[in-house]
Amino acid sequence: MANLQNIRRRIRSVKNIQKITNAMDMIARSRFNAARDALLSNMPYVSKTKEIMKRVMSQMRGQEYEHPFVKTREDLIASHTNGDGKFLFIVIAADKGLAGSFTSNVFKSAHDTIEYDGTDIINSVENEDDSENFHKKNFDALKDVVPMRSSNSKQGKQYTATGGMARANAHPSGAANSGANLSVAREYHDADYVDGVELITVGRKATTHFSQRGYNIIKSFSGISERPNYKYAREIADLVLERFKTGEIIDVTLIYTQFKSAISCIPSSVTLLPIITDDFVQGGENLKEEYIYEPDVVSILNDFLPHRLATRIYGAMLHSAASELSSRMNAMSNATDNAQELVGRLNLFYNKVRQAGITNEINEIVGGANALE
């Protein structure tokens, strides 16, 4: 028979945990409100930057002028054929755990994107209006390009990677669940695939996750995931631009969690660089009028594009912060509810055991009394 003492102890420990989860819920809730306000007041700025970008870029094509960040897809293929630049991914996740599936969702999406080989069925993200998710388009364009220096080029590695992905898909249980993705990542660990990929991580969880899997992390930030600061976004942007200009990296993708509402946060990925004009022309209306640039187009773009990059990274950080806190809020309020239910069940069990004990004692007394007669 269960020991009353033990049950009491268990009830007490569950109640203590409930207190902790309840406190964490309230903390997350108040921080979430701040994070949501920050995000909401940043959103008009980001969307306006995006609109301007779209209008400027849609009439950029076909001009003799060239800027290192702006390319047509043909240029991209050409530069890819000659160079051996790396692919850079910026992963924005959390510093702390206990936020439900938030972190693992980001990693799942990150692995899907990083290890994308053109055969992946559908990403979890279906952004009907996201005209800027070029990574896959870029990759599809590059898939059949055989680089000249195949020995140390990214393309060769990506072919090995394709083999890995194919094996994972062939595996009966490997139907695009996170388990399969993780096993694929481990396979890459040995391959030199990871040499062609560089990461910038925001959040301690992301740093440990990817460093354990042997990825090359060139810079990591921690302690800023809940309250992002524009300064760090600028730092990331500067680092990215510097490496992009020297040709060390040829493609930059940002992976973060998009905050849609308090109950819906969607991991997404966007391509930051290079800016492919083809997609803007297809997406936006084709403008005939040309812009007047003061003082001139080169200096404006030299200032505007880095600014745009930092703005987007900052926006993504804010999205990620709001998502993280809302996930934590949900997880912790669920945990509190579960604890409440568990306490109820344990109380019932405790009372049953206690009653059984009393009944037993009465039986014994009655039995003893009967025996005396």
Partner: protein, 140 residues
Amino acid sequence: MSTILLEVATPDKGEVFSKEIGMLIVRSICGELGILPKHARLMTELVPHAMRIKDGGAESQLFVGGGFMEVTPDKITILADSAEKPEEIDTERARAAMNRAQERIENFKQSHDEQIDIGRAEAALARAKARLLVKGEHIG
């Protein structure tokens, strides 16, 4: 009279200004610009200054702390690093900031101290002056 839509957005306060106006006078890195409705498409960078917004006979001012401006025939979009209406500006703080910046610039002129970021000090001075100007205080 035809009008043009002016929208000013900042990274941390959202849309600060959104209204149909008659004329906008801004200072870009190349000089002053007056924007009227049906202006040609234009893209430029702004310095910290006090923008003048004309609407009919009335004129109001808005402080912007630098940023970018895009003009299309029916809309002006300003992406400002910061933007404040006259009633939001703290005169005391702006004056203190101006004094600090001036002091730092003076120190730099005398000592050529490497520690002083002269660019930053000058930008701070420009911002403080523009803020005071929006408040109606003209300083050198």
